[in-house]
Symmetry: C2
Subunit: 251 residues, 2 copies
């Protein structure tokens, strides 16, 4: 039975130094908003604050670009040190054209710039890298929140990615814990008795997208609480959402 869904922005989360106890920070921010976690709640947390808390940042000034990075940077009018970091974060280059590098990360994600983002922190020009193991990041955060609140939530770590064929970016899931990220309707019947052939819904991606709507880019809202969504509890892994190379027509 589907009921109303609420997507609630969690505010008051400021700058995130390395080593930040994200669970405590989010728990405190929820309290300041007079929100208590409830069973079945989902927290969507942007990659940027997870990466910062985990110290997954690089100061551009410490990077020595390779000749290849310098050549690519010149061709696309980019910063060679930035290109160097993108190459280092890539397992494989999928496309390199129009000034865009689409690569596959060690996690198996296929996205622009291997998920490397620019960020200003206290005047230093930093790059944020994706968490090394974003499922593990989600799991750690979930355990910490459970410790603090005694409530088992689902955690989705999200990042803002472009898509093939369509302009604009949307939030997608890059790490999960406590939720099965894919809902499989195959073999079930629709309301008209017709068997659903090709219906596996990537609910983790849809939840990440829903969360983005209350986050914005300018407002400083790196966490959203989603309440009222009936999901399948599971440890879960983002690998479920990664298409197998053997059926990937756009490698």
């Amino acid at each position: 039975m589907t009921t109303e869904l609420r997507v609630i922005p969690i505010k008051g989360i400021g700058e995130i130094p390395p080593g930040t106890d994200l669970g405590l920070l989010i728990y405190t921010a929820l309290q300041q908003q007079n929100l208590s976690l409830e069973a079945g709640d989902i927290l969507v947390v942007t990659q940027k604050i997870v990466s910062k808390a985990e110290g997954r940042t690089v100061d551009l000034n410490t990077i020595e670009p390779s000749p290849f990075a310098i050549k690519i940077a010149e061709r696309y009018d980019k910063d060679a040190r930035h290109v160097e970091v993108v190459l280092n974060e890539s397992k494989r280059i999928v496309r390199m054209d129009h000034g865009v590098i689409v690569s596959e990360t060690e996690h198996g994600f296929i996205c622009a710039n291997a998920g490397v983002d620019e960020s200003n922190v206290n005047g230093a020009h930093l790059l944020t890298l994706l968490p090394v193991d974003s499922d593990a990041s989600a799991k750690t955060l979930r355990a910490r929140l459970q410790q603090l609140s005694n409530i088992d939530t689902a955690i989705i770590i999200s990042d803002t990615w472009g898509r093939a064929w369509r302009t604009g970016q949307v939030n997608m899931a890059i790490g999960v814990s406590g939720i099965e990220p894919l809902t499989d309707y195959r073999g079930q019947n629709d309301p008209y008795g017709y068997e659903l052939h090709a219906s596996m819904i990537s609910v983790a991606d849809e939840l990440a997208s829903a969360a983005e709507l209350v986050m914005g880019k300018i407002d400083q809202v790196p966490v959203a609480l989603i309440r009222g969504y009936s999901y399948t509890p599971a440890e879960g892994t983002i690998n479920t959402l990664l298409r197998d190379a053997s059926t990937d027509m756009f490698r």
Copy 2:
């Protein structure tokens, strides 16, 4: 200022014969749920009921497959009449492999099977085709709802599509009216004073995905009301979300 978002399933919408006054049907369903439209409301409506109301269905038994469709169907173990309809709805085949046909529709959408879906209606095995002009469908529905309620809403017509590189499907926007589907943050600064380089958010796709979370596939919920999202009012067109061929690296 971001506030809480509500995503509300609109229930009680039954089978949709051709010629159905969708605006009246949705208006009535809202009333039965004790909901009144408010300024700023967004209605996400699945393609399937729009196509059915517009008579964009084909009875498989009326289709004479071409030799090419027969050959493809044999290779992929499909119904040749279904393949024939997919070919007819395609402007161009993007990929044809692993039993999947990814094609570009006349609208410029790139999706599996040209958006052709199977559906059982009163025992007949029908295929639903995408609306001929899904922006126009959205515009007509918006005007009808405005006539009935005196409230100007935004309409998003959604469909459930797969993605490159990721398993599972998500809802995406295929037609809009009353909303600018893309929010462009380029040239603005993030909270840390850093200029946002590559931030155009496809809010129409995110809204469509958020709506899917209350629709499900088995529950018969083809319409969702989204309340509390501050969007940019505009006539809007889905063409804004279609990547130009010259920058499309996955054609």
